[in-house]
Symmetry: C2
Subunit: 415 residues, 2 copies
């Protein structure tokens, strides 16, 4: 038995007990873990400082270093996040339906914990607390594998949780961290069938692709978003411009930001210079088709690659289309199935867009930035699914559960 299989076995054992915990016990544990995080501030920040200085020595800088860093404020947010999860409704044990068959069998469908959840993530140590909190509340054990740059921080945080759980006579193996950060350990984790019930990657496109390609454990694919906004002929510019600016610039580095703008040809002359100016004021680079380049000063020519690119940056691709059909065709070709929006005052076009565009979230006259568990009212989010199995769109606590059929009989046999 490999070390990872051993971890899987421990997690499975823990999951059996977690599945039987009541809501109050889980909430107490979450609040105790939040308190312990605050009490262990010094150790955790020290561990994080060690990660940071090692990262700097290795030449890491910029946004990556920022994501790696923990501060008192971020630690407090992690603790508050656990308390927030404690305050959410328990997703386990809801009987979704119950019916009596003609033969008297009573069949109910009930939400139950997933069992053992694997989370594979990159530099952000706060994922450790977020993922643990959601999995515990959903009654599942979690096996975490973070990036090697955050190892000391993750170990410190997980240690705090494990000690807290033990002190409450709960299984410490509700949360385990894979400390071997080699590529081999990641591959082993992706093939931990029989122990892991689901594997959720959280990170960039490269990580997600690697998990999808190598995993034999069921995966929930998250987070890649080449989101489009289509401005229809009848669009109200006073809605369109703020929505596009918001979707592109309110936080460009996230998956629900807008990456590509499609404009109906009949309004191109009027709309493109206006939106071009507004975007450029926000320092957004515009890469457009021929018409766009002719109508927006400073726009540069887009290549085929641009249409398929999630910039996560102050860049937007822009194309003029003949009509709604051509807009839908373009989106079908380049969508990653995350969030797509139409700006229109035309009822039929709005309904057609909602029906015919295939994505986790489709919008009329609103910013794509709303695709988010918090915004959707889930209270917390483990990620945004861009696949169609199990969960699609923001995933909250409910999406971390599965169901079982419970059948009450009285001696029934099948004819």
């Amino acid at each position: 038995m490999t070390e990872l299989e051993q971890m899987g076995k421990f997690a499975k054992e823990a999951s059996f007990l977690l599945a039987t915990l009541g809501t109050n016990e889980k909430n107490q544990a979450l609040r105790a873990c939040a308190a312990a995080l605050r009490e262990s501030k010094t150790q955790i920040l020290e561990a994080n400082a060690a990660d940071l200085s090692a990262a700097k020595e290795n030449g890491i800088k910029g946004a990556f270093l920022d994501r790696l860093q923990l501060t008192e404020k971020r630690l407090e947010e992690m603790a508050a996040g656990l308390e927030q999860v404690a305050s959410l409704p328990d997703p386990v044990g809801e009987v979704l339906s119950m019916q009596t068959l003609p033969n008297g069998l009573i069949i109910g469908k009930k939400t139950v914990p997933m069992g053992v959840i694997g989370i594979i993530f990159e530099a952000r140590p706060n994922v450790t607390a977020d993922a643990f909190g959601l999995c515990l509340k959903a009654g599942s054990a979690v096996i975490l594998r973070g990036g090697k740059e955050a190892l000391q921080s993750n170990m410190a945080v997980v240690d705090v949780f494990r000690h807290t759980l033990s002190a409450l006579s709960l299984p410490a193996d509700a949360v385990q961290l894979i400390t071997d950060t080699s590529r081999e350990s990641a591959t082993q984790m992706m093939r931990l069938n029989g122990y892991l019930d689901v594997l959720i990657p959280r990170g960039g496109a490269g990580l997600i692709r690697s998990v999808v390609e190598n995993s034999t454990v069921p995966v929930i694919q998250t987070g890649v978003g080449n989101c489009h906004i289509y401005v229809d002929e009848s669009a109200d510019f006073e809605k369109a411009i703020p929505i596009i600016l918001n979707a592109k610039t309110q936080r460009p580095g996230v998956c629900n930001a807008c990456e590509s703008l499609l404009v109906h040809e009949k309004i191109a002359d009027a709309f493109l210079p206006a939106i071009g100016h507004a975007l450029q004021e926000k320092k957004v680079e515009i890469r457009g088709d021929e018409t766009t380049v002719s109508l927006i000063d400073g726009a540069i020519a887009a290549t085929e690659e641009d249409w398929a690119t999630e910039y996560d940056d102050y860049i937007i691709s822009t194309r003029v289309v003949k009509d709604l059909d051509e807009a839908i065709q373009h989106i079908r070709r380049y969508t990653t199935g995350h969030s797509e929006a139409i700006i229109t005052e035309n009822y039929t076009n709005a309904q057609r867009f909602l029906n015919e565009v295939d994505a986790a979230a489709v919008y009329v006259n609103a910013s794509t930035r709303f695709t988010d568990g918090g915004q959707f009212g889930f209270g917390a989010e483990i990620g945004i699914s861009t696949q169609k199995l199990h969960a699609r769109g923001p995933m909250g606590l409910k999406e971390l559960t599965t169901t079982k059929y419970i059948i009450y009989g009285n001696g029934q046999i099948r004819e």
Copy 2:
């Protein structure tokens, strides 16, 4: 672009149109396909005869040959099956929830077609019609890959459907058959990401393992069932014996048949001789632990392997356990997560079994043979999921859909 990618592209195109079809159009198509099956009886049976004689030449016989064979009766069942699917409620377009956020955004969660579904199966040509019917009703295109032994039969059936769809001005590519039955084509199908939204294997444990190990497309694992019945101390023998006989012998070759019997030690002396006699009358071989062998004449010693084996045959493994805890431990170790049952008159033990045993279906005082889409009232079934993502237990039309969020805005942007 490979031939399979081309098929994927055609299927995707077809799926966009299928997603917009109304219920009546889909039902008319299903009924027309049923009628066409009946009209094409001669061609289909001829094609099947060719498959059968080739199979016989290759030395295939017994149950395999029986599964491969189409008769007038089976063809009529296939046609009636399509009509039955036409009569079921449309799973597409149900708005599961809709709420207005404080900012005025209206967010609805709606069932939508999966898109393109892949089905990989073995010798039974009737799967071609079953799978096509369910996928069409669920608004999805299907790519089928059957076993090489059934190729002529499958081609004949798919031809009938494609011609019928074309005659109705519907896309023939709603159903496509992979006629290259090499191992390579199966592997290619399992890696058709971007075209296939889900892959469902229907067949034996070997096929399912191969799909789980090699597929990068999301998979729904189906059908492996090492099902247990635990007879508790307080069991009513008058319920226990008929239930066990039914679960073991009513149809031993299926996944919801009982494979393993656990008996509380306090009733072993009284119960084992009685059930042993009853099973042996039905020609069931008993492979037991030491106590079982000492109490049932003719029982033979079980090996470790027996506890993990899905016999699909007139064989049952039998073990005496100390109590409910030991029964649950045993089941946790050997379960395939399909169907598990307890026979008891004890309320607390019944509830504990329902809560603590982790399987798609858990029963009190009823036969495991009820785990079936038809029995559960789904009207039809594409398979029985033994995994925890997306669907668990019998999968009907609903389980062939996914959801999307539809968001009605009025200019909202994120703060």
